[in-house]
Amino acid sequence: MRTEPNRRRVSAAGVTFLAFAAIMLFGTAGAEVITAKDPETGLLSWTWREGGISIELVQRLPDQTRAFFLGRGFPGEAADLVGRSCVFQTIFRNDGERPVAYDLDDWAVLFRGSRLPLQTRKTWEKEWQAKGIDQAARIAFRWSLLPTTQGFEPGDYNWGMTSFGLSPGERFDLELVISVGGERVVGEIPALVCAADR
């Protein structure tokens, strides 16, 4: 059972944002990828959409990420390590009609002919334990990342950071795998760019 949807709002800033968007359509399974540049921040974003499901990746500057984690108790060296790990703000929404699930361990970074795994909560937790990062900072870090696995009913969404383990300025393609109503869907977001270290 679902309750009735509530109203949606789109801000003027959002409209401006979309006005700068360029749309690239991909023939496979009707998916589309929208690339955009925020006129206020200059940051690039990529949104993969199919059947009411959207996955939006927005660049985060290394300094932006460093500042965030310094403010959550990370020492400078650790905050720098995350900042330089190609971090994107990620918004995964299910506005479709079927349940959606994903596991980031099924996704792949396609970079210079190699398939690389994403850096998930588990990856980073090992790093922080080895570095002796205190518990409060580790908790903040864990919850600020996009969950490694998640299930969304229609109307649900999550925000979180995703890190791809590449250097600032690098380009890569992202292969994503999701389950939609139990059906496996594979998509690709091409030519993502890690934000430069300004």
């Binding site: 009735e4 925020d38 969404y157």
Partner: protein, 169 residues
């Protein structure tokens, strides 16, 4: 200093422009699992045990101050709270991993009157079926999880609250 201000502005612009659209509806949990009990203090030092609220309908929200959709939905939670508290429906917001100082600072910008509980070591959120923030549950008078919402909602929407109110009947 200028660089710090630039990144603060950048943070506000990106986070606020992205956090405009709430999620929709509540998902019914057909198995109605028992809600894991907890004992937590709120920012005023009062202790809350979930089991003490047996017999009441509860909305329990897991959140953090740094989480944009959590901040986005807080004002609507406060507006909802003003109405539902008169009807005997309770609302608790469990902060994950932060201390009183940070939460107090947050309430200067987002004043709320419902209890803000602190789960500083994240043991409570770890025992609940939560993977991302915010996640909100509706608990029935028997202490069971009945509805779930992943992501923010407009909590003062009467259509969203209708199934919550129906649990009282």
């Amino acid at each position: 200093m200028r660089k710090l201000l630039f990144f603060l502005l950048l943070f506000l612009l990106t986070e606020t422009s992205l956090a405009q659209r709430p999620g929709e509806g509540l998902t019914l949990l057909p198995e109605r699992p028992q809600a894991p009990d907890f004992e937590l203090t709120d920012i005023d030092g009062d202790t809350h045990r979930l089991s003490d609220y047996r017999g009441k309908v509860l909305i329990i929200n897991f959140w953090a101050t740094w989480c944009p959709p959590c901040r986005e939905e807080m004002p609507s939670m406060q507006r909802a709270w003003v109405n539902i508290k008169e009807e005997g429906i309770l609302m608790l917001a469990v902060n994950v991993g932060e201390d009183e100082d940070r939460i107090f600072e947050f309430t200067a910008s987002y004043p709320v009157e419902f209890p803000l509980l602190m789960d500083q070591d994240s043991t409570v959120v770890g025992a609940w079926p939560v993977r991302g923030l915010p996640t909100t549950f509706v608990v029935d008078p028997q202490g069971r999880l009945v509805y779930r919402a992943i992501g923010g909602r407009e909590w003062d929407d009467p259509e969203l609250l209708a199934p919550v109110r129906a649990l009282k009947e």
